[in-house]
């Protein structure tokens, strides 16, 4: 079979772009299937969170009664003083830090450094679990103060509804991420990725790319939190 060298000089402009994108076997060169699929899934998930947040903004913008004051509602009493956004600052710090450990795990994964990858994955999972734990604490605090999905002492009933729904949905994402981090850490410790052992359910061979794919999900969950943080706590 004759084989031609890669495409000759590309045409300038849009036609060059499309012909490059549309050329031969894969549109995204050298991108593994799992990674491409994760990116597209995250695009779809972005639309889910966008719909949630836009619905929340609509409710907040159109309500005729007062919206609870974020800096008071989400404040934490330290001794005698009410420190606004204290808990949420710690939560955000924890989650952003977990993105850092995740990125390092990906790096050591590609270097096939099993112990460091596994340690960092476990650390990421711990930070994620800490985040969910603090979220549970925040929920408990708000519930004890009388916030319910159908009402609250300070104003528009949509406050509790949107808050519990959106942070709950995000917390579910984090929890699923933590579960997968633990599964992946176990795989790494056992050497399943080095031996390319097939997965239990899917039967696909293990590869260190999987750590990166999981990392994409984890960074996405982080990024979504930044938006939730901005729209709920700073607005």
């Amino acid at each position: 079979m004759n084989q031609v060298p890669a495409t000759s000089a590309l045409q300038p402009g849009v036609s060059g772009l499309t012909s490059d994108f549309a050329s031969d076997q894969s549109a995204f060169k050298k991108v593994p299937w799992g990674k491409a699929m994760m990116w597209i899934f995250l695009l779809s998930d972005t639309f889910v969170f966008a719909c949630f947040l836009i619905s929340y903004m609509t409710a907040r913008a159109s309500t005729t009664v007062d919206w609870p004051n974020a800096s008071i509602v989400f404040g934490l009493h330290v001794g005698e003083t009410n420190v606004p956004l204290l808990l949420i600052a710690i939560m955000t710090f924890v989650l952003i830090s977990s993105s850092g450990t995740m990125a390092l795990a990906v790096k050591y994964g590609y270097e096939k450094n099993r112990s460091k990858t596994a340690t960092l994955l476990v650390l990421t999972a711990l930070l994620g679990a800490t985040f969910v734990g603090m979220q549970a604490f925040e929920w408990t605090k708000l519930i004890s103060e009388g916030v319910r999905p159908w009402g609250n002492p300070w104003g528009a009933p949509q406050f509790g509804a949107a808050f519990f729904m959106i942070t709950g949905f995000h917390g579910t994402h984090v929890t699923i991420g933590v579960i997968f981090l633990i599964v992946m850490a176990t795989k790494v410790i056992r050497g399943a990725l080095d031996d390319q052992r097939p997965g239990f359910l899917t039967g696909r061979k293990g590869r260190y790319e999987m750590v990166e794919t999981l990392g994409l999900y984890w960074h996405f969950v982080d990024l979504v939190w930044v938006f939730i943080f901005a729209f709920f706590y700073l607005w």
Binding site: M1, N2, Q3, V4, A6, S19, F21, A22, S23, D24, Q25, S26, A27, F28, K29, K30, V31, W33, G34, A36, M37, I40, F41, L43, S44, D45, F47, V48, A50, C51, F52, S55, T58, A59, S62, T63, T64, V65, P149, W150, A156, P157, Q158, G160, A161, A162, M165, L201, T202, G203, R204, K205
Partner: protein
């Protein structure tokens, strides 16, 4: 260049990556036919499930028509049953039949075969997609047996009505409906990711994006739309579920229900409509784009002619897909939203008619001076052009605010959307089933039965929906159980309604012939030629018929040309398959190719 073989190169680019790892061949019955990871089996599972639930929806439409055609003759149909039939008919047909059959059925079967892949990229995820879809269908069916029956709030599920006391199915039906939708979306996402990644990353050597058959383009773009549009429905369903079960007020304002003050306050029903139609309008194109793609291939193959304006067809699919996200509020002209929105959305709606019209012209120009063979698939393809143009033209009426306002919620709307997104795609589904039946089953269907099926269905649907336009112009509102004595409705409307009902029953009964033909031919039909239509695309070039697990035997095909090399001047055969290298094309003796310009 009409005289050269389009886009053919004698060399194939090098392979870009390792071959797909397939799950091992299944040997047990359960592995082969039940929990199977082969996209072709999953496709058939999807198709059978979708057809089964679609027949339920067909029966529901007959329930509706019996009441409308012969009011007060059937004591079993009371107003609640009627509204439940309307709602479930719409929801099942749009989501559980058309979406699932086009993407889950045809997508699974055709994408790997047509792009030259051995399977979808993640077979296990693909299998889970079907099982979650089946679960969604079962939950939907369960809602028929819930206390109070399924929801009767219309397929659009508008709040506050759909969750307010007095509406049928407000107890369990609506909850099961919303749960079922959520499951459907989760299941679909699993499959949809597979379709998109397979098209983007797993094509065979030489199969560039601009050499893909339009079928794959249509299904691919529809899947992209679905992945971006279903999230809005998912969110809306979740929020309504919370409103109804734990008492949040996302969509429910404070109001009086049967004389009692409701516990909700401050919610916005309009928000639901925006979310719903942000899903709902792309959904129209999720159903239409695969139909556009498939019908292009049917027309080119059975008219023995290359598709007119292939590149334009691809760009039209992409343009329609993009525009479909900015037209949703044309479903809401009378909802009470800001009137300036109506102006904006009327404009975008009319713009989307441009790429759509390009496609229609190109189909007709492909037929022009083609060597048309009136096979059963071709009949359905031509039938599609008729019904689609018809429904599209009434769309121009309804896209304009001033014309839409008096026609809103009348039978004119019913006639419009049934013509454009019910009958037209169903025509393509029938045509596609007949077209690929010899490949899927390895046997030939009965041609005569197929032609009877076409003429009865085609003429029958016209008999059903044409009179509805007139009824709509009279201002007869849709979704009404009975009209009683109404000054503006003339007596002839009742006669027309009776006529429509009889036509609907005839069309419904004809479908029994179709299903009988499929089953009987599968068991007793003649063995089919591996390429009975002399088509060029890869699925007809498989070493086995029907194709086996892995699709293509030991070697994957290499693609040398676009999929529409029909009636190439000078070539011996009137078609050149995509995997034939130029030097192997048999030319007629004495043919001198025209000089390249």
């Amino acid at each position: 260049m009409a005289h050269s073989i389009y886009d053919a190169v004698s060399t194939a680019p090098p392979a870009e990556g390792p071959e797909m790892e397939l799950p091992p061949h299944a040997h047990s019955f359960i592995g082969k036919y039940v929990f199977c990871q082969d996209a072709k089996v999953i496709a058939i599972q999807y198709a059978i499930t979708a057809t089964a639930i679609g027949l339920v929806a067909l029966a529901l439409s007959i329930v509706m028509r019996l009441q409308l055609g012969f009011p007060d003759s059937f004591s079993l149909i009371d107003p609640s049953n009627y509204l439940q039939a309307v709602s479930m008919h719409g929801m099942i047909m749009v989501v559980y039949l058309l979406t699932a059959l086009f993407l889950g059925g045809f997508g699974n079967y055709l994408i790997p075969l047509m792009v030259g892949a051995r399977d979808m990229v993640f077979p296990w995820l693909n299998m889970m997609s079907f099982w979650i879809y089946l679960l969604a269908v079962l939950v939907l069916v369960a809602s028929f047996f819930a206390p109070g029956g399924p929801t009767g709030g219309g397929w659009t599920l508008y709040p506050p009505q759909v969750v307010s006391p007095g509406t049928p199915g407000v107890g369990g039906g609506i909850i099961l409906m919303l749960v079922s939708l959520g499951l459907f979306i989760i299941g679909f996402t699993m499959g949809g990711l597979n379709y998109v990644v397979t098209v983007l990353q797993a094509r065979t050597r030489g199969m560039t994006l601009m050499r893909m058959p339009l079928t794959v383009w249509g299904i691919f773009m529809a899947t992209v739309l679905a992945l971006l549009a279903f999230p809005a429905l998912f969110v809306a369903a979740l929020m309504m579920l919370l409103d109804h079960t734990i008492g949040t007020s996302f969509f429910l304002p404070s109001m009086l229900n049967l004389g009692e003050q409701s516990e909700h306050s401050g919610g916005s029903p309009l928000l639901f409509q925006h979310l719903f139609w942000f899903f709902g309008h792309p959904e129209v194109y999720i159903v239409a784009l695969p139909a556009f793609g498939i019908v292009s291939d049917l027309i080119a193959t059975h008219a023995r002619r290359n598709i007119f304006g292939y590149r334009m067809m691809v760009w039209a699919i992409i343009a329609i897909g993009a525009l479909s996200f900015v037209v949703w509020a044309h479903h809401m002209y009378v909802s009470g939203m800001n009137p300036y929105f109506g102006f904006l959305f009327a404009t975008t709606t009319l713009i989307i008619a441009v790429p759509t019209a390009i496609k229609v012209y190109n189909w007709v120009l492909t037929l022009w001076r083609g060597n048309i063979r009136l096979t059963v698939p071709m009949l359905f393809a031509i039938g599609f052009i008729f019904t689609f143009v018809n429904g599209g033209l009434t769309g121009l009426f309804l896209g304009n605010v001033t014309v839409d306002v008096p026609l809103s919620d009348t039978y004119f709307v019913v006639a419009h959307f049934h013509m454009v997104m019910a009958v037209a795609p169903i025509m393509v589904i029938f045509g596609a089933i007949y077209h690929w039946y010899p490949k899927i089953t390895g046997r030939m269907f009965n041609e005569t039965a197929g032609k009877i099926h076409f003429w009865m269905t085609f003429l029958g649907t016209y008999a059903i929906y044409y009179p509805m336009h007139y009824i709509g112009f009279e201002g007869v509102p849709r979704r009404y159980y009975a009209y009683g004595e109404t000054a503006f409705i003339s007596d002839s409307v009742q006669t027309l309604n009776a006529f429509i009902t009889i036509a609907a029953i005839v069309v419904a009964v004809t479908q029994i012939l179709f299903i009988f033909n499929l089953v009987w031919s599968w068991l007793y039909g003649d063995e089919a030629d591996p390429n009975p239509w002399k088509a060029t695309t890869l699925e007809w070039q498989t070493p086995h018929n029907p194709p086996q697990h892995g699709n293509f035997g030991p070697e994957l095909p290499v693609v040398y040309r676009w999929p529409y090399d029909y009636s190439v001047p000078g070539a011996k055969d009137d078609f050149i398959p995509q995997n034939v290298p130029p030097e192997q094309v048999e030319m007629l003796p004495g043919y001198a190719p025209a000089a390249k310009s």
